[in-house]
Amino acid sequence: MSNIAIVGIGNPYRGDDGAGWEVIDRLKVDIPCIKSRGDISELIDLFAQHESLIFIDACPDLGVDWKRVDALSVPINQRLTSTHGFGLSEAIAMAKQLQQLPLCLILYLINGTNFAMSQGLTHAVKESVQQVVEEIERECMNKV
């Protein structure tokens, strides 16, 4: 089991849904960084393979530009983007049932407004991405 990894979830061809991958591209940390498209079996594998995970995902109607959520201490009530109804929130709920959650699971959720087939992030999401990058780098320095 590896100690920690950072996972950006998204689809760069779905506008703001590319935020998770963009964060991964910009991060300068000495920790494995992974780009995922959010397949549920792959996510649960990641849970089982790591003690600590940081996920970055875009979601609509967040109410704030971005926020950090400790997924093991508060229920995830955001509507996260997903394929065929199975995404990060379902993977977390499933892993909980299967007792396969990591010891630490932090989510950075970024509020997106455009999830249509398109490339590039909206201006607000670009700004959030930079703030999330800085926040994760700070968090990683503290963890290391």
């Binding site: 397949d39 549920i40 792959e42 065929h84 499933m94 049932q97 299967l98």
Partner: protein
């Protein structure tokens, strides 16, 4: 689903079942059933997801782009879209591919069946048989089998990643073959995980075969691809229960689509016959003898019928096909050779016809291309569009036979009857009339 979304009213002998938003299906659809006294007056599967215009924006694109553009119609069966479009383009260009490419195609197709069938069997369909709202609730009491399902799905993902470049939205298939074939070693590395997957699939078959299935027996006109050498997946002609045996280029002579007001997906019918069934039960009923010896043995062991006429038992057929896909993948991995990765041909004016067996049924493509290699016209007939009439007929028969069933059970089973088909509504919405007026 809230009570506002799911309504059932009984008034003066009139009973309506109205489910405004179907759960555990891909895309946006609704169900409406009206009965009066002992008669069913209306059964509508309503598909209200907006049309996606893929056929329109294929016009003017290069023929080599069709596989990757059409693959985006569906995140769960992209290989089927790529294969059907490739088959059509190869027909148009007169390309015949060598055996090593046929094997590679069948292998990646096995990956898609494993991935898609596992998703449907365990995560979308099985919860129906336990009265659970979803797989997460079902996992409370079935941790072991759900864990194995995730491992099985991962094995399908691995095949697609190795053969297709990545597991979600693979990009390695092209007209004439593959952009790059994996090495023999890369393919052999899949064998061990597949052996485990085959064990998991075997357990899945035995598990689903013990479910309590609602009674419904239908006399289906089954339609699937058929190939003399193999259980149908990536190639073949079209066969039907009534004895029809045609090449794919004759499809339009025997099948047609019609628009109904309640649906953004066209309804398919077999000319002179009406509704027909496509998908796992159709393939099993028409071509079950071509399943591998292991699967035949399991069919005997669980006592499964040779011709399945109960749509609620489709989950067993899907599990059998998952077992077959694992078994077949292991078999053909041994035959895999690197060889040439593709065959090239010059564009010409032609019409191309292609089909393959998507996990949920026959997927037909037709293209008219020109001498510059551009697509002038595209036609895509996905399995869910072909199944709509059959789904409505299943619902009608089920309601007629279960008029006295308590309301909540009737609604539950009617939704389940739709999920029997693993419908992919997002794939099916292609109702489109494009009128261009030049003044």
């Amino acid at each position: 689903m809230s009570s506002e979304e799911k309504k059932l009213n009984v008034k003066a002998g009139v009973r309506t079942i109205n489910v405004d938003y179907l759960a555990r299906v891909e895309g946006e659809g609704a169900m409406y059933i009206k009965t009066k006294d002992d008669r069913v007056e209306d059964v509508h599967l309503k598909i209200f997801e907006p049309p996606r215009f893929f056929e329109a924006f294929l016009q003017g694109r290069e023929l080599g782009e069709a596989p990757d553009i059409t693959a985006r119609i569906c995140g769960i069966c992209p290989i089927a879209y790529q294969t059907s479009s490739i088959n059509a383009m190869e027909y148009a260009l007169g390309i015949s591919v060598p055996d090593n490419i046929q094997i590679a195609r069948r292998l990646i197709y096995c990956g898609e069946w494993i991935e898609s069938h596992t998703l449907h069997v365990f995560m979308l369909h099985a919860p129906d048989f336990f009265g659970c709202a979803d797989v997460i609730e079902m996992a409370k009491n079935h941790k072991d089998i759900v864990g194995k399902a995730l491992r099985l799905k991962k094995a399908g993902n691995q095949i697609i990643r190795v053969m297709g470049g990545r597991s979600v939205h693979p990009i390695n298939m092209r007209v004439g073959g593959f952009y790059q074939l994996p090495t023999k070693e890369e393919v052999k590395a899949l064998i061990e995980p597949l052996k485990q997957a085959r064990e998991d699939a075997l357990e899945a078959v035995k598990w689903v075969s013990t479910f309590d299935f609602p009674d419904l027996n239908r006399s289906y006109e089954c339609v699937s691809l058929s190939h003399p050498d193999e259980y149908p997946m990536a190639r073949g002609g079209v066969a039907a229960t009534s004895g029809l045996r045609i090449n794919v280029d004759q499809y339009d002579e025997h099948f047609e689509e019609e628009h109904v007001e309640r649906s953004t997906a066209l309804h398919s019918i077999m000319k002179g016959k009406g509704a027909y069934l496509t998908g796992p039960i159709a393939r099993y009923n028409l071509c079950g003898k071509q399943l591998s010896p292991l699967v035949q043995e399991v069919i005997k062991e669980i006592g499964f019928e040779k011709v399945c006429s109960n749509p609620f038992r489709s989950i067993v057929v899907r599990a059998l096909e998952t077992l077959y896909a694992c078994d077949e993948a292991i078999r053909i991995m041994d035959l895999y050779e690197e060889g040439p990765s593709y065959v090239q041909a010059e564009p010409k004016n032609a019409v191309g016809y292609g089909a393959s067996e998507a996990p949920r049924g026959l997927l037909y493509h037709r293209y008219r291309v020109n001498e510059r290699g551009l697509i002038e016209e595209a036609r895509i007939i996905p399995p869910t569009a072909q199944s709509q009439k059959c789904i409505e007929e299943d619902l009608r028969d089920f309601v007629v036979q279960n008029m006295k069933m308590p309301d909540d059970q009737l609604v539950w089973h009617c939704e389940q009857a739709i999920r029997n088909y693993d419908p992919c509504i997002s794939c099916s919405v292609h109702f489109l009339k494009l009128h261009r007026i030049n003044e």
